[in-house]
Symmetry: C3
Subunit: 343 residues, 3 copies
Amino acid sequence: MTFIRNAWYVAAWDQEVDRSPLARTICGTPMMFYRRLDRRVVAMRDACPHRLLPLSMGIREGDSIRCLYHGLKLGPNGMAEEMPLKDDRVVPGLCAETYVVAEKHRFVWVWVGEKERADEALIPDLWPCSAEGWVFDGGYSHVKCDYRLMIDNLMDLTHETHVHSGSIGQPELMEAPITTHVEGDRVIVTRWMAGIDAPPFWRGALKQEGPVDRWQICQFIPPSNVIIDVGVAPVAAGATIEKHDQGVRGFVIDSMTPESEGSMHYFWGMARSFDIDDVGFTGRFKRQQGGVFAEDVVVLEAQQRSMLANPDLKLRAFNIDQGGVRARQIIDRIVRAQMEEQA
Amino acid sequence: MTFIRNAWYVAAWDQEVDRSPLARTICGTPMMFYRRLDRRVVAMRDACPHRLLPLSMGIREGDSIRCLYHGLKLGPNGMAEEMPLKDDRVVPGLCAETYVVAEKHRFVWVWVGEKERADEALIPDLWPCSAEGWVFDGGYSHVKCDYRLMIDNLMDLTHETHVHSGSIGQPELMEAPITTHVEGDRVIVTRWMAGIDAPPFWRGALKQEGPVDRWQICQFIPPSNVIIDVGVAPVAAGATIEKHDQGVRGFVIDSMTPESEGSMHYFWGMARSFDIDDVGFTGRFKRQQGGVFAEDVVVLEAQQRSMLANPDLKLRAFNIDQGGVRARQIIDRIVRAQMEEQA
Amino acid sequence: MTFIRNAWYVAAWDQEVDRSPLARTICGTPMMFYRRLDRRVVAMRDACPHRLLPLSMGIREGDSIRCLYHGLKLGPNGMAEEMPLKDDRVVPGLCAETYVVAEKHRFVWVWVGEKERADEALIPDLWPCSAEGWVFDGGYSHVKCDYRLMIDNLMDLTHETHVHSGSIGQPELMEAPITTHVEGDRVIVTRWMAGIDAPPFWRGALKQEGPVDRWQICQFIPPSNVIIDVGVAPVAAGATIEKHDQGVRGFVIDSMTPESEGSMHYFWGMARSFDIDDVGFTGRFKRQQGGVFAEDVVVLEAQQRSMLANPDLKLRAFNIDQGGVRARQIIDRIVRAQMEEQA
């Protein structure tokens, strides 16, 4: 088992879930998601308790779902409401498993472990995704790799130089020192570039001349989120690692939800507090970011295949990999604790 | 093992088998079928006893088959007749396994178990498929599901309302009571609708006004056949469950031959004793029936995948499923007896 | 294990390997090949020792290869030369495995076993592929079958009559006697056709009338090469099995390199000492030979699938199969010796 179970995972973008069911397998469990008339989200095992046909093939009736095969009708709490033959007495206790869901920061989150432990306060605080004065948009990709390979990828931005040489890669990134530290269950990798010339993207956002301080602060938040605080501020503004909202700032948001041991759902986006009324900027940036992440998908799927084709070889970690190494240690520790508790 | 072995299975429609070999895997065994000059059907293991190339790739010579690879020639009894080098003495006993076949009711049947037990009297009596005064036609589909899922499907016609809502489904079907009973190795599910208004299809066939009695009598016959006696008769004719040939009547014929544990060959058709000279009717009905069964294929393949994706869940049976439940009990009993006998 | 490991295998045609890496899995090991500036060939495990991304996706820099993911740079000896962060000290001993390669007879050969045993003198002597006065050309096919099925195929040319009935097959081939003998690790199957009428192909090559002696001498050379000495000479010239270069002569060259237990790389060609300045002949012959071998691929892949579908059946050997049988005995003996040595 490589997944943390008692945790919130992003199941979908809020706009992906509507009245018609959306099928998505989360941590090995087929689930389906739809909205009630009051827009609250229902998450249910994607298998009719009668003959296991995926409920996502069914028809929604009011807040209930009716299986396409024999017409068993289940309420949004998963409980059977009507048998295939209307007059038949509903079998007591007949139901599909449901899952605790929450909607926050533009995502639908699902708790895959023990229901009684689900606490919305444990949802990762992706505040830039929903704060006033911020704009957030992004996309979704299905990736055929272990979700931890994507965490490794994001916790070490040196790969940008090579994988993204045609887009965001810049040789200077390789020269700036990074520091990695752990705070509780979080891992923070910081790269602070003081008094440099701003690259074109940030120069355009900042809309003023002169040397800047630039930062990239990657933060791993269990079970599988990485948010990257990025931006620049004029040197004169005196930005520091502790406080750096003097210039232009954004957050790259990445949430990696395991589908199986060898595949994942990738939710990515960018939240920003500059040019927030420029809708064209949002669309252009999302297109560009989608292109960049497509480059990562090619690499990660090749890496996954190579791991299977070279079973005698092990992944090695260098200094640049400290972020990923620490994140995996935290995942391993939580998974192990979970297993011990169950045993 | 989920197959009955000492039994006749439909291997093909009669018109599917001709002088060129037809390859088809039956109950896990690759077989091939062709007709001798006198039109009798040969069934042989689809692997040359020399280097295992499928014999179905070979060339038929008279009643024999010559392997495409090295030219070993086998007679219709499977015995080697000529070695790759013509002058080489034929190896004594060299042969491909053959299977007992019979042709009846428009189908080619194969006995997959112990040859000495093959008895044509055991072929299911699908008399409407070959009786005088009856017309029979139908089709073939390959379906990626356990053959027992299709038996479940056919022994419970309540699914028509939902799966076939655009074609043959009718809400009234859900309201008519059904009875299930077992007679020896057969299961019979009866739905008798007395004094109702005939639906358009049957009204057209009957060609007269007034209330009718309508019936649907599903019968499971091992190892894996379901025939459904359907029709209507004017109320005044006094039809009964025991005797109901006063009006218009047909039989839906379904034979499910296992290919593997997770796939099957589906032979379906309709025999009727009305409008038998209307060739256009036959063609139109076959097209319609093909469309209806294609809807079942979508559902059954999704059900098969869902069973694999949800290994912790079990199929549940309600009242409507009694037909399928009884049929599976009979299959299980025969398979178990078979295994005990072998041990 | 069905492969001999301490042996030279053809990895590629010489012209397939250039400055950009070529990925090819040899005996189950993913490898990649490229040429140094001095044209010498490098063979390396196709997985970066850092995070296992295939090195064949990387960028060559001078004689070194830089991984596309994080930019680890490896020299042609596999040793790390530069870390992802340029200033980081190179981890001592960090390297990708390399393999001993040699270039001979127009092929790139790789030694997959213990390096210290690699001796170029052990490369099969395919002298017609590189001798003065000879022309050699051919092609490559990926085949989804156990490499030993192709050896069986080539060591028994009676299959030509059936598989290649539309091209090179001739019934007379079936009538000429063959002899099989073993010389050390080699198997030689000889078919000598004395005083026959030359077929059109050889008549055209010989450019004179009258009866000829014709020969086909198949030779298996471990680990998995078959070369076939073919040609005709006027009867008056007195050709013998021992000495037969009086007429026109060619060698069909076949090298079967295992990719996995169920797939192989097929390198095939024809070396000839007649019409050597006729470039058109070379092209036409290569096209024809490619077509003939494509017929074999269809048969061998069907045979491989049939072996898996009929696990209860075994390959049988007749007289015509003696060449293949002896070749497999030699392979088995060497593999067994190898395993005993390791144990």
